[in-house]
């Protein structure tokens, strides 16, 4: 199997409300930042793949407009996933492994501020048994949080720690949206949105975009002597029937851990697509990360651009490996209610 490396990643400053900036105007700066850093143009890209959600824009095929951010003449090979852009990266990686491309541009974008994210996410679920009840994303997350708390898999203290650390770590990410520190008193004084979750346990409504460029092994060495390879990647989805899942048993993630033989790897850093505070200690425990610096970027709790935050976890892991004396990094991307669909990515820097 051909090896694939990440050679560039850029993130737009995460905004509370991008206002009149449209999706194209959010994507263009990050794509061009990458092109400028690598000294290339769209002509050097063999395959382009984006991740976004038409529900956010409220129009069918809204993602097509995103292509206005890049040069599409002469015609390009292009695809889109109605998923987090982490899965656009997955598709691009397969394209390179199949020998159809040596370079790929991935971008993700999302503007959550104009709509009502809670009701929009409800619409994306099972249209027979779940959507008609209008369960919001916070309430579904809260159902899993309560299961984990009840079974003592996590503690309320760990949730508070996750919130405090996310805010503290936001200083490491110049693009973070939420940078205000919070203490335990403020956390405890906060009213629940959907018990047991309060506003600090939830990610901020965020607008933004991110882009990444990946390349085949030969191509990657044209840009760097120390490529950061996608050494292992695996994603699994669990039932859309939320009531048939054991919300305290991450069967999909456990299968990925086994497939990727993660227990044999000593990770230097991890970035998790943990949108709610309870997911941080839960996944740290599942992934055996108690001694591994996790979410040094602050993670989704300090900026959660829909359809980008998973790609951002991969991108932030890449940045950590690139700028530190690190070798192995673990990234996690997620989709669906209560961590239904999860991707694990093992990145390794060649010395």
């Amino acid at each position: 199997m051909k090896k694939v490396a990440i050679i560039g990643y850029a993130q737009h400053p995460i905004l509370e409300n991008a206002g009149a900036l449209n999706e194209v105007e959010l994507i263009m700066p990050v794509v061009h930042q990458l092109f400028d850093e690598l000294g290339i143009s769209q002509n050097n890209i063999d395959f382009t793949c984006s991740g976004s959600c038409d529900y956010l824009q409220g129009a069918a095929f809204a993602f097509v407009e995103g292509l206005s951010a890049i040069q599409t003449n002469p015609p390009i090979k292009e695809s889109h996933v109605e998923m987090d852009a982490a899965w656009a990266m997955y598709e691009s990686m397969l394209k390179i492994q199949m020998g159809d491309a040596d370079t790929a541009l991935i971008y993700g974008f999302g503007k959550s501020s104009p709509g009502r994210l809670d009701s929009i996410i409800s619409l994306q679920m099972d249209p027979y048994y779940i959507s008609p009840l209008w369960p919001d994303r916070v309430s579904l997350a809260a159902i899993q949080a309560r299961v984990l708390l009840e079974k003592n898999i996590i503690t309320p203290e760990q949730m508070i720690t996750a919130v405090i650390e996310a805010r503290t770590n936001s200083k490491n990410n110049k693009n973070a949206l939420v940078t205000e520190l919070v203490d335990k008193e403020a956390y405890l004084a906060s009213e629940n949105i959907s018990s047991p979750l309060n506003e600090f346990d939830c990610p901020p409504i965020s607008d933004g975009s991110s882009a990444m460029i990946i390349a085949s092994e030969e191509k990657a060495y044209e840009f760097t002597d120390h490529p950061i390879f996608i050494e292992g990647i695996d994603h699994r989805i669990e039932s859309s029937n939320i009531g048939s899942r054991d919300l305290s048993k991450p069967t999909g993630i456990l299968a990925s851990i086994e497939k990727l033989k993660l227990e044999k790897i000593k990770f230097d850093v991890a970035e998790l697509h943990t949108q709610f505070s309870h997911e941080v200690p839960y996944l740290q425990s599942v992934l055996n990360l108690s001694d591994v610096p996790t979410n040094l970027s602050g993670g989704p709790l300090v900026g959660n651009v829909m359809m980008c935050a998973g790609l951002d976890a991969i991108g932030k892991t890449y940045e950590s490996l690139k700028s530190n004396d690190f070798t192995n990094g673990l990234a996690h991307a997620s989709s669906g209610p209560c961590l239904q669909h999860n991707m694990l990515v093992h990145l390794e820097k060649k010395s």
């Binding site: 809260a142 009840e150 629940n192 029937n241 009531g243």
Partner: protein, 148 residues
């Protein structure tokens, strides 16, 4: 500019102006709601999925053996909403809950209300309340309330 009379025009209605079929299995589930019955499906391993599932996510077999479950059941987990938002169907404080109906091995997502948060626990028994009008939708079950 071309003459106004040469322009092609078409009406445009922004709506989901189509009907969705609920299929051979789930249509039976929705028809049964009209009789105030809740159906599940039984797999070859004996596991009962409720609400009725079209396939078993563990064995991947298609399911067709319908069995009646509920209308009472046990709360497996819940989230409590003290201040409902615009899109919520219940305007008073309520819970979204996973409810394992009597006779089922999996849970159904629905709502529980007419109680306080402190009244609810994992393990609390609840029972279905029915809507006055039947629409063959999951909302024909109006919500669940604590069993007296």
């Amino acid at each position: 500019m071309s003459d106004q009379k040469d322009l092609l025009r078409a009406p445009f209605e922004l709506a989901y102006n189509y009907k969705r079929s609920s299929g051979p299995l789930m249509s039976k589930f929705f028809d049964a709601l009209a009789e105030q019955k809740i159906l599940g499906t039984k797999s070859s391993t004996g596991k009962v999925y409720a609400p009725a599932a079209e396939f078993d996510p563990e064995t991947h077999e298609s399911l067709s053996d319908l069995v009646e479950v509920g209308p009472g059941g046990v709360i497996e987990s819940f989230s409590w909403i003290e201040e409902p938002k615009h899109h919520h169907l219940i305007k008073n404080p309520f819970a979204f809950a996973l409810i394992k109906l009597d006779g089922a091995d999996t849970s159904m997502l629905h709502m529980v209300t007419e109680c306080d948060e402190a009244d609810l626990k994992i393990g609390s028994r609840v029972s279905a309340n029915w809507s006055a009008t039947i629409e063959n939708r999951i909302t024909d079950i109006k919500f669940f309330t604590l069993e007296k």
